[in-house]
Amino acid sequence: MVDNLNAWLDSALQTLLFIAGAPLLAGWIKRLKCHLQNRAAPSLFQPYRDLVKLFAKDVVLAEHASWLFRAAPYIVFGAMVLSAAVVPLVAVPLPASAIADVIVLAGFFALARFFQALAGMDIGTAFGGMGASREMTVASLAEPAMLMAVFTLTMTASTTNLSIAIRHILAAGLVLRPSFLFALLSLAMVTVAETGHIPVDNPATHLELTMLHEAMVLEYSARHLALMEWASMIKLMIYAVLISNIFLPWGIASRFTVAAITVGTLAVTAKLALLSVLLALWETVLAKMRLFRVPQFLGFAFLLALLGVLTHVILETAV
Amino acid sequence: MMPLDLVLWLPLAGVLLLALVPDHRIAGRINVAVAAATFAASVWLAWNVLRTGPEMSPGKLFYIDAFNVYLVALTAFVGMTTAVFSRPYMEHEVGRGRVGRQRMRLYHAMYQGFLFAMLLALTTNNMGVLWVAMEAATLTTVLLVSLYRTPESVEAAWKYFILCGVGIAQALFGTVLLYFAAERRLGAEHGDTLLWSVLHNHAAQLDPAVLAIAFVFLLVGYGTKVGLVPLHNWLPDAHSEGPTPMSAVLSGLLLNVALYALVRVKMLVDGSLHTQLAGHLMMGFGLVSFLVAGLFLHRQHDIKRMFSYSSIEHMGLMTFAFGIGGALATFAALLHMTVHSLTKSAIFVTVGHAAQIAGTQQIEHIRGLILTQPPVGWGLLAGTLAIAGFPPFGVFMSEFLVLNATMKSWPWLTVPLLLGLVIAFAGLLRHLQPMVYGIPPAGQVRVRANMLPVAVHLALVLWLGLSIPLFLSGWFEQATRLISGGLSL
């Protein structure tokens, strides 16, 4: 009972860490990019400052913004927090991930997206609608790809419970799985698309016709905007953590000892840092692609994920 | 044999009486009265038979068994309701000046004459007299078909006359051969050997070869009157050009009686031949008629013509069912006879009113009936759904049984049957829906319509669809046993 309680406590803390860490990751990526594009880089903690500033401001609403517009940021943020809660960051077992498995995780993302898109359309500006439309298009391809990629894992571990699955892989030790290769690739592509990064979207731009994600939050200000931004940072972090902890789970703590936890924290930080370097490089070398090539990009991701599942079924399961 | 005499004499008296009454209004009333009296008598007769089993008249000239007694009742009933309908309808026609006073006399007299012929054909025990009655049925109706004297109606009447005449002539040849075969076996005590009862009792001894030939002639002969494709060509013309009450009784009664004759013959032939020849021939004709008529439905422009094709279709189905033989199919066919003639006559009544509302029989000019005159519109809709075999109407029950009988003995024939049903239904609905629904064009006027017969008929059909009353199913089962040679359900 006690360690059960411990476990819950741990998962709560882990979630907090997750939420708190998200801006840091964002800042780190931005910084790396600036260095790579040899621009003067903002501080690592710039995102925190932005958030604080936004929280402090007064809200400006469009005249005919409806209650939905105001409720959306909270719901989006809440959905992201919940998703963060079920993804093991530094330690398995994570009892919280029994509440909601990967499918529910995808569900949370969809929920957030649903409200974000609606919020975008609420004011009735052309950009809002455009952003919503494009976001839904991209998502309708990215979401299944992501699910498929994760299904590779869940079918390998024959469970959809993330922490159990990761523990299973951890226990299996180093096994080269062709299916994971495909899954990893597609998950990476999905991550780029879902978190609004080049080549699908450019988080830096407000160039009207190119933006996806930004277009939906155009009308937001102050705390609402802050919540939205933070939520998207958390989302990025979730994807990053998923990739790192599923495909190279080593170092993640499987017991609640201080040592183990510390190791886990260090490990995950290292992994994320490394991953962000890759992302930054990727963003620097590539250019944003035309919107109508995005579906092909994601279609490819979907295909890869499907290949992953199929190779798993065909090659890796004993008949 | 009191009721039987009444059943026959009443209409005969009606002929003479109506031939003398000059005023068509009074005549119409008398017509209704006589028909009603006949119906009462027929019910009495049916009741007797139900109580005391088959009856043979003293001269052995008439024989009432379970098979024909309910047809007698049915015929008298439809005759009555149609008479009720025909009174306002024909008055309207006279009002529109389509018919003169004189011809109304002819009309009423011949109406009763036709009923008499039908009842005679049903009740008689003598194959020869049966033939005479069938011929008489043609002769009485042929002048009514050309009642309006339009070129079309005359043409229709001529075709009706010639084709049915020739056809019926074949039937007579068949009858002669039947007599011949009988006489060879049963010796020549004259008169008796043509009695159906006698023939049926000695069917087994009759010579197969002769009966086969005889059956062919009788099939072609009576089949022409049943309206089997390709002998059907007179039917749509006669139905569409004659006055609507005539169409109602032709579809509702004449076809039935012709089929009745055919089945009687089949019973004899089956008794003699021990092959399924008769059955197979009937199945073939039935199926062909069923399918072809279904296709014809798609190309109709005249509302009465369309429904006459639907009659052909259903006659085909019944012939098919009788052809299958066996208890289930026969029961189904008998039931279908009943519900079809009730429904179809109801439909023709409604159609008559619809045509008067629109002032034409052209389908594309009949529109939005349920907005112009709701009772007629709904009546037409209900009737068509009923005839198309939608439950809870009785037609569904009989078609259900036919399908299952087929499924039992000829599984693969269910496919063409289903196709036929769907095609026919599509044909009906595509024409029906615009007539019933939509915005009525200018110039459609309400008419004095007596929808009582329709209501009664459809109510009966509905009742039969929900549950068959015991006495009726009792008749059907006896009849089934008679026809299918002792097989019972």
Partner: protein, 225 residues
């Protein structure tokens, strides 16, 4: 049995049967209305003669009645009615063009053979002197139909119809020494009424399409518009 084995009457019956068949062919060949009617009358007469002979041979008295009936009806009354009608409609001299008359003749001949072939089992069954006449009567019936099919004049069709009736009657007499009396009477009555109705129809048709060419009665059809 061999022909010579029959008595004179029997041979007479066969002869008249042959003549009846012959008259059918005559009608088939005859394109003018008036002679057609005459031929029809002759057929009726021959029919009644045959009936009388059969009555003589078989000694069925009621056959005499039907012989008289036939004579009165089919040899006198109906032809006379038709004749009068033809006069009043001024068509008695009308000649109609029949396509391929020789072909039709041939068809008729084939029909006779066919009927013989069909009627064979029946004939073998019979013990009457008149057994092969069944084939003849069947042929008469079918020839009548052929006549109706090949002719466009309404009158010709009626005659065809009536000759079918003749064939039937002939069959009844020849194969079974006649039907029961009541049937005979009923049939005769029907035929009479039919003849009257035909008369009425001539005028109706004349009134509607002022011609008696039944090929012009083709308003009602299902042909694609």
């Amino acid at each position: 049995m061999h022909l010579s084995a029959l008595n004179l009457y029997g041979q007479g019956i066969l002869v008249s049967a042959a003549l009846v068949l012959f008259t059918s062919f005559v009608m088939l060949a005859q394109t003018r209305i008036q002679p057609l009617i005459y031929a029809f009358a002759w057929q009726g007469a021959l029919l009644s003669v045959t009936t009388a002979l059969v009555a003589l041979v078989s000694g069925h008295s009621h056959l005499y009645i039907s012989a008289l009936l036939t004579f009165g009806l089919k040899a006198l009354l109906i032809p006379w009615m038709l004749y009068r009608m033809a006069r009043r409609l001024h068509i008695q001299r009308e000649v109609e063009t029949v396509s391929h008359p020789s072909l039709i003749m041939l068809a008729g001949a084939v029909l006779v053979v066919f009927c013989y072939y069909v009627a064979l089992p029946v004939a073998q069954l019979s013990t009457l002197v008149t057994r092969n006449t069944i084939a003849v009567s069947m042929a008469t019936v079918l020839l009548g139909m052929l006549l109706m099919i090949t002719r466009r004049a309404a009158v010709a069709q009626v005659i065809g119809f009536m000759s079918i009736e003749n064939g039937l009657f002939f069959a009844a007499v020849a194969s079974t020494y006649g039907m029961p009396m009541i049937v005979e009477l009923g049939v005769a009555f029907d035929v009479l009424v039919a003849a009257v109705l035909f008369g009425i129809f001539f005028f109706q048709i004349r009134a509607s399409i002022d011609s008696l060419d039944i090929d012009r009665l083709n308003r009602l059809s299902e042909k694609a518009e």
